[in-house]
Symmetry: D2
Subunit: 342 residues, 4 copies
Amino acid sequence: MYSFKNDYSEGVHPNILATMVETNLIQQPGYGEDEYSLNAIKILKNRINREDIDIHLLVGGTQTNLIAISAFLRPYEAVISAQTGHIFVNETGAIEATGHKVIPVEVNDGKLKVVDIKSIVDSHSGVHMVRPKLVYISNPTEIGTIYKKSELEELSQYCKENDLIFYMDGARLGSALACKENDLSLIDYGRLLDSFYIGGTKHGALMGEALVLCNDSLKKDFEFNIKQKGGLLAKGRTLGIQFYELFKDDLYLKLAQHQNKMARILNDGIKDAGFDLFIDSPSNQVFPIFPNEIIEKLEENYSFYRWTSIDEKYSAIRLVTSWATLETEVIKFIETLKAYTI
Amino acid sequence: MYSFKNDYSEGVHPNILATMVETNLIQQPGYGEDEYSLNAIKILKNRINREDIDIHLLVGGTQTNLIAISAFLRPYEAVISAQTGHIFVNETGAIEATGHKVIPVEVNDGKLKVVDIKSIVDSHSGVHMVRPKLVYISNPTEIGTIYKKSELEELSQYCKENDLIFYMDGARLGSALACKENDLSLIDYGRLLDSFYIGGTKHGALMGEALVLCNDSLKKDFEFNIKQKGGLLAKGRTLGIQFYELFKDDLYLKLAQHQNKMARILNDGIKDAGFDLFIDSPSNQVFPIFPNEIIEKLEENYSFYRWTSIDEKYSAIRLVTSWATLETEVIKFIETLKAYTI
Amino acid sequence: MYSFKNDYSEGVHPNILATMVETNLIQQPGYGEDEYSLNAIKILKNRINREDIDIHLLVGGTQTNLIAISAFLRPYEAVISAQTGHIFVNETGAIEATGHKVIPVEVNDGKLKVVDIKSIVDSHSGVHMVRPKLVYISNPTEIGTIYKKSELEELSQYCKENDLIFYMDGARLGSALACKENDLSLIDYGRLLDSFYIGGTKHGALMGEALVLCNDSLKKDFEFNIKQKGGLLAKGRTLGIQFYELFKDDLYLKLAQHQNKMARILNDGIKDAGFDLFIDSPSNQVFPIFPNEIIEKLEENYSFYRWTSIDEKYSAIRLVTSWATLETEVIKFIETLKAYTI
Amino acid sequence: MYSFKNDYSEGVHPNILATMVETNLIQQPGYGEDEYSLNAIKILKNRINREDIDIHLLVGGTQTNLIAISAFLRPYEAVISAQTGHIFVNETGAIEATGHKVIPVEVNDGKLKVVDIKSIVDSHSGVHMVRPKLVYISNPTEIGTIYKKSELEELSQYCKENDLIFYMDGARLGSALACKENDLSLIDYGRLLDSFYIGGTKHGALMGEALVLCNDSLKKDFEFNIKQKGGLLAKGRTLGIQFYELFKDDLYLKLAQHQNKMARILNDGIKDAGFDLFIDSPSNQVFPIFPNEIIEKLEENYSFYRWTSIDEKYSAIRLVTSWATLETEVIKFIETLKAYTI
């Protein structure tokens, strides 16, 4: 049984483990004041090319989203999200649990456009409705699509003009950065967003998400919120080492490139075998449509997520590739698939 | 500079790291359904000698407390805690942030007694006051003292008779278990408490606390609460390996015994050098009273926490020993101290 | 300027004021234990024909919804509501502010059907999603439509079978009860719902909503929630008198009949004048479509709410009638309208 | 049976009822935009002698406290209150339910001093503790004592210097204003506090508390918080009329003077009959100490609250006088008491 279920089925990149082993007995201050965290943050600031930003290393994605959003908003302020947004669908109401409404917008490709946000903003007025205040996007989106620079610039400008906080969930940011179609850099994100996070968990780290606060108004006392929500790791060195190793050279990008490459082989092989894709995703998620009986056969040897039912006979599944996905297994999957179709 | 500041200054016990390295590339399901977590839980149930309990592996102590307590209580229900309780003092209002009042009780030795709880219960009645519903204790307490079996039995009985949830924060539980004075076992905790957690972070784990749900009424849907509060780790295998390695044999106890032994050497050496202790703690925290000028001199070579000012000339400090504290450094500290007093 | 803006533009029915004057100096216990509240509750139980229900008298609709829903649900449980639902649109995120997600369902006529609820229930599974647990309906809906007994029975049965709490917002319940098309009685509501409230504010009371708890499992300690959320009125007598006077005989129904009758005159007059209705509402809200220039002219003499823009030339407005709406003014409105169209 | 149980046993002052009757059928906008509310606010601003303040009319005291405090604070910020404070003891954890810790201070006379606040502020530092941010006082206090101008000025200065929000619960403010010993005016409150409320419920109104926002930084979007917490009354006219009638001339003060006068007669009569007082309260609450058998006899004819047990034989009770307390009944109470002691 080989798993394409997600990008966190394996452990952590060996470089990171090696540094953990090597530094293990060196005493360090707790709660993120260790030298590895400080160095990691220094390097990340350098990659984003801004010294004036704040960066906090957190453990997980839902944790990062809920800490950031609840810290940014006043009680009556709400979030605008695509109906497919991770915070709207897959975080067990974590944002609402902090008291804030998430207003969903129906979109086709997982991406918010200015027109969608404007429609929500325009339809909210007066004290009987929440005030939309934060725009949440994911890049790549939950269905694998990515934003173009021009799209992000338009969203950024609209947010600035309308006093909206522009926040990006970058759980799989590496995969977006590594796409052939991508024209956005970390420097662009630091310039266009008020806050975003760089995901480690799904790109070879043991765990860890680096939350970036670009807008000065969001920085004050932020760490109180981390501690209050249970997100301040005692041995913060562990998070520091993850991001130090991922970003001290190009490891983060290289791992993501591998993930995308494995996804491309799946993608092309599936098309080549005569199947359609439910969504055309350039990143490390692939959404093929297969007949149900083929899905059942594949499930004998492969682990993956059934995405949605297409009709009585067909369903879409989701295949995800990780930093450790083996090319031999990817090729074997395609061969297996082709064998089923003969 | 050597640190006695806390018990999380160093990394993780080498056995744990070794298993992380060894299992690193084996694919596992996410979110705690990996085989290491399942095995760790099996072993822990065995140690507690109850098959009918639920165990959830979480990342940190504040996280564990807030998830457990907010899951256990209805909105108007409150917690009774010693005024020194970690949740009352040192968790940035994490419990209140989930909507629940923590009612403090003034105690001298960090330990709650039945009479304290009864006084709170008796003074609360009617719908204009919160309903005290959960009794929170820490063992060892925040000032290093530990509960005797008879004390825990009395508390447990009172809680049962008064429909109170009896919960124990075991962030340093190993150190309590390893005390010479201790007469409580994991089996006792499983028998006397409705819920408690076994702390890993402060006893040689990279991170991790094992939350035990003994009372059936607390178990339902618990994992929804973990996810909602941002506590569900994608690579749950990391937590599983910590507890598997700590509990598959006696490692947890041995590490705690080392911590306590180092603390005893400090304790006895300090007394021997002619100094008093602020609190007589049998566990891995030592609270000596020193003249301020000696504290200043010690701070040149040692890192520790200034606990409280005694008078104009004297202060109490806190020395904490970890699984990795070096005996040579402990001895050197005592020698340094003695040299100051000549 | 005459107002059709809402059903709370005037004060309170004179009978209620008279009883307030008459009983004003009689000492009564506070917080709802006065004899008027006790009597009102007794009468309401009689009307619902169930002695075993609990009834709490609260001040306002948003307050009632948020207290009830937050008391009923565990932290990870969510509400299913029509996208037009008052709690989803017009209560400033009051439900989310208590920590619970409201899951919207797109509907045309403001009414939830089993198929809508089933679709939400079926698409939610596992701990990464909230658990849909409470079905929220309004009757009449926010767009004036009403439920038939067969519809409510189907919903009730589905909720029972799927362990869902079935809750009804009855802010304008009188108007539903007074509809010609209505086949539901208070007895039916008490039989089919787990909880609902009978609105007073919009049917001639000074203020006040009577929350009915039919399902035993929702009753325990409910008043603690009222107090904690700021809803326990010191001079609860005021609420008692409202419901006593409205329900001791048929005043509640008579006032609602008047409201509906006034709405019917508006409705028929508008059609007669050649205009269409945006929604065909049988209750005390009327939604005509007028050319924008006619709306502007009407606004010179009438106060009402612009509901939505139909196209560049036409908009829908909302006219609401109250217990005190004057028939002469209604007729004058129709005449004014007809004069504009000549 | 005559009640001295509280100051809300009777209805509302007849002047207010008369205006309610008189204006009953005049159409008014909802939600506090009616002319009575606007006029009431105008008059209150005039009494406080500040045009630049914001005033919101709310229904009840717990509601006012929770809306104000949750609107003023960021999630990790906490309240400092006397251990006797209404929000700490008697509001069912309403403040904590909005996510904020209330830090209690042990005081003897119900009044906070600078030294108490300073001690809390000095003992809180770093991200592991909440940040004390709002100082909550009640005037009169929950045990009937009142603040002197010099005391309020010291507190105000300390708060300003330490960036603390200074907030006063004025549920019985009239009684403080009407004390012989009082040297504080509404103008002083407006000058020295960041926010406070003027209680109507306990001074002859049907219901209603006027929340005053003096500090500019607290005003923004405040009404969203009112609506979200269920505090926005549809027929806001009712609240407007209360405060208009109480403040258009000296009715508020006169009613409070009556309350205090009745309390003085009780106070002096009780002393005269040879009994001690538990607290020496100058306002409308009296706390005599009686033998338990006398309390039992009094309970046959009088309703009051047993405050606390003094020893095996004696208890303190609380007698409260209202705007409608009858002097004949007060005298009869004293005579009854004296008869018991012969």
